[in-house]
Symmetry: C2
Subunit: 591 residues, 2 copies
Amino acid sequence: MLRTHTCGQLRAEHVGQQVTLCGWVDTARDHGGTLFIDLRDRYGKTQVVFAPEGGAAQLEDSRKIRGEDVIKVVGTVAKRPEGTINQKIGTGEIEIRVTSLELLNKSNNAPFNPTQADLPGEDLRLKYRYLDLRRPEMQRTLKLRNDIILEMRNYFADNDFLDVETPILGRSTPEGARDYLVPSRVHNGQFYALPQSPQLYKQILMVAGYDRYVQVARCFRDEDLRADRQPEFTQLDLEMSFVTHHDVINMIDGLMKRMAKKFLGMDLQLPLPHMTWDEAMERFGHDAPDLRYGCELIDCTDLAAKSDFRVFKETAEAGKKVRGINAPGGAAFYSRKLIDELTEFVKQFEAKGLAWFRVEPDGKLWSPISKNFTEEQLAGFAQRMQGKPGDLLFFVADTWAISCKALHNLRKKVGVDLKLYDPKSYSFSWIVEFPMFEYDAEEKRWNSMHHPFTAPRPQDIPMLETDPGKARAVAYDLVINGSEAGGGTIRIHDSATQSKVFGLLGIDAETAKNRFGFLLDALQMGAPPHGGIALGIDRVVMLFGQLDSIREVIAFPKTQKATDLMTEAPNLVDNKQLRELGIRIATNDTK
Amino acid sequence: MLRTHTCGQLRAEHVGQQVTLCGWVDTARDHGGTLFIDLRDRYGKTQVVFAPEGGAAQLEDSRKIRGEDVIKVVGTVAKRPEGTINQKIGTGEIEIRVTSLELLNKSNNAPFNPTQADLPGEDLRLKYRYLDLRRPEMQRTLKLRNDIILEMRNYFADNDFLDVETPILGRSTPEGARDYLVPSRVHNGQFYALPQSPQLYKQILMVAGYDRYVQVARCFRDEDLRADRQPEFTQLDLEMSFVTHHDVINMIDGLMKRMAKKFLGMDLQLPLPHMTWDEAMERFGHDAPDLRYGCELIDCTDLAAKSDFRVFKETAEAGKKVRGINAPGGAAFYSRKLIDELTEFVKQFEAKGLAWFRVEPDGKLWSPISKNFTEEQLAGFAQRMQGKPGDLLFFVADTWAISCKALHNLRKKVGVDLKLYDPKSYSFSWIVEFPMFEYDAEEKRWNSMHHPFTAPRPQDIPMLETDPGKARAVAYDLVINGSEAGGGTIRIHDSATQSKVFGLLGIDAETAKNRFGFLLDALQMGAPPHGGIALGIDRVVMLFGQLDSIREVIAFPKTQKATDLMTEAPNLVDNKQLRELGIRIATNDTK
């Protein structure tokens, strides 16, 4: 090595030793003719000192050093003078008295300095990602990502899982999201697809007897990108044979306990709490509720039906819902202006309006609409909502689905506004028994809520024929702090049930054979009962690292336009390449 | 779990316990009304017994069971009767007396049985890969692969490496092999490329201060496939900052020692032997010599020049080479017919012919061409070649390059034919100081021998201007048993040298900026000295597992036509998908 130690290694016990350090110039400052440089690498910072007595030439050279230059210094470890010790960093008791300096590389024309306080916009940081990645925050995050994945790997190795690599060049199956395609040169006119997940391969591995499979798998979806999505992402993918959903959930419980202990210093109580999808929607309006605070949805449809307020009454009579949340102590926080903003806010989620009541010091409700209610009716709402003086009660009168969506989002906003929970705290839970299908009113057919290989609960199999919307799946989502960290299901392991589900999804036998024939074959040649789960690693790192953007947990992320600003990908390619692939770029004429 | 134990777990100590096992029916045989089934899973096999006293219904059901059915049995662990104990397997002392049987899944219509002795052809096995993967050999290999990769990961974690994921959707740079392209939907007419290696990203990570990077990286090359190549393959990719080549080599030496100990039971002596490229070519005619045996190339050009044999004399006078190998004891093995075959064999490698001499019992040489030599000349050859009675001496008279290629391949063949080494033994070594460039006579320009980012030896930098062909790179290949297991280089870390090398490769400033601008920029903004290596994991698993084909070490390999026979990828896709991507399939008219 060009160095004897890293910049995070030297301590008082090394005083007197001659050492060689290499690193980046973090800061340089002159104190009465002596130059102090903080030399930085991934492991820490060390103060190196160029004193006049070190030799005139040496000092002269050191004057040319600028921030982010890469240097090598030889010198002696010395105790820092009294009063200059820095207890905040590991190397804070010592400094290096430099006897020799070598400039390994200059830093010229950098558009920004990773140590500067006010960083430039994200686009510039992504273009010069190598500068941005020098920031200690980024280095901490990528270290955390490394550590989390390593911990996962070791946990599953301890539990007899085999890491098996599945292909990236796979087959296009136009289910779910849009595929990224790869034209074949050997078979012109045909295409590979990049995997949206290794779902089919991992089921095949179970049929092949691998019993416990795990992979940190790269997955690809060519979707219009939301803030927290990337065209390629990484998931912890696993599958187990001869299991029920309890076994998969227990396995992940154990992982979460180990990770919470190691990375959050938390002792998780197992089993993690479970809630059915029906209960989650009823209580929180969402299938990934944040359980760190209450403020639950409360159904007042029956009270609304008995009131004289036309909107409430008609909603109830139409079979829709009047549900509300209690924002505890909200009266002091939300001015009339802010309440108007909340009304606009819920309209984003298709609610037609937001009714609200303030709980007065005497416990009675007041609202601009209170004249539409009798005192008794108001008292009924107050009691149902457990309104205490100073609380604000919000109501949405709409379809069940819209009231779920609007109140879930309102609850999230109220939780933040009123600081109903410690944002640094954690809550882990399972949501189970999802519906098998969602009805697509436009296409007039059922869609899988998870994917077409999900097993129904055994007792719900008859419902596939009679009432598919009521059938519940053996499906489970892991929710951390109101985010879906992962989801899994027990799979269908017989080809008859699989064909029946394909039928409900509008996939006829011919199409099923064409797309998934190998899976249907495999299910007839000795398939064990099996199930699994996938966790979103980017999401998990975000949650464990308390980070806001997925681009902060990926070394080389793409923008929302799916562009890599550093390498400028995608880009134009030679016509020769396209000719070999047997494709042409469509012009407007030929599209 | 549906089971209490795996099929590899039960021992004499469990006798008397009630257990539940699940697995595949490996074999079923009837002995006097009692049915014996070997139940199989990834962990082993257990004998389960259906005795008539278990109940008539039970036995009746058991009669319907066929090989590869998936069953669950409940029963009691019993000691096997005297004389039926099988010491070869861990569960050989016990058997399960079944009290309850459940058929979890039938196996119907399987085109072959993974337990059958004579397996069908590879195409059928690839199509029904889930059956093929049930073979214990395949399961052992994928377990070995898992274990090797895990050991690598832990080794590098122990050595402070960070695993950083680099993008799969990258930029096309038409250097080296052909890229796989991915059309962009958001940017119609532009393309991503799948990475041939994470080379540029790992250098960027060094510039970003990550110091030690490692990744088990998927790489892609759209090349016409040789027997041991796949369109996608996996490499152990790493990079280190502030290092010389010694540091990278030492790091891999340590890995090999750990792996040889764990997987081969070998104590490797470190450092592993080194040899320069020049020496390897001179002594073995190849840059990845198998050092498990001698049979080295010996230069006899000077002797040939003095002989009267026209072919030898003219070759020597033309500045070409007459070199040979001594096949020890070869006279007894190689008949005249076999020698004729060897002559045809070396012609595949462009040699015009093969001269040979037999060392007679009296130590003198005999050959059909010996009349062209004086006795003294023959004695000279015999002495130079250390010919002992019974040896065969082979000579190729040709250009240096052709004699390297022909004799290297002849040496390999002789090594196998004459069993000059134990094929189960191992030899590890480093080949170092490769040429920077190879001259492409057709294109009349230099090509990189490794890649354009390879640093020349510092003392050879002036040669870049005067004699590029003589410049040697700080490059190193790890060779195991005559296979290149990996290769690496110290990289250029200043943009001036990088530009000079691009110039020699015929990449002008404009093109370099266009393709690698971000790297050239990065090299100017504080790049540390750095270098790394990549090991071919598929190759390493083949070598450690003593396997012959890369398709045996990959769960879902592609054929030589780059087809996945199981999923039938690549395949035709919907026109809608192509329209969204802004591409068309070229017809013959539009190509």
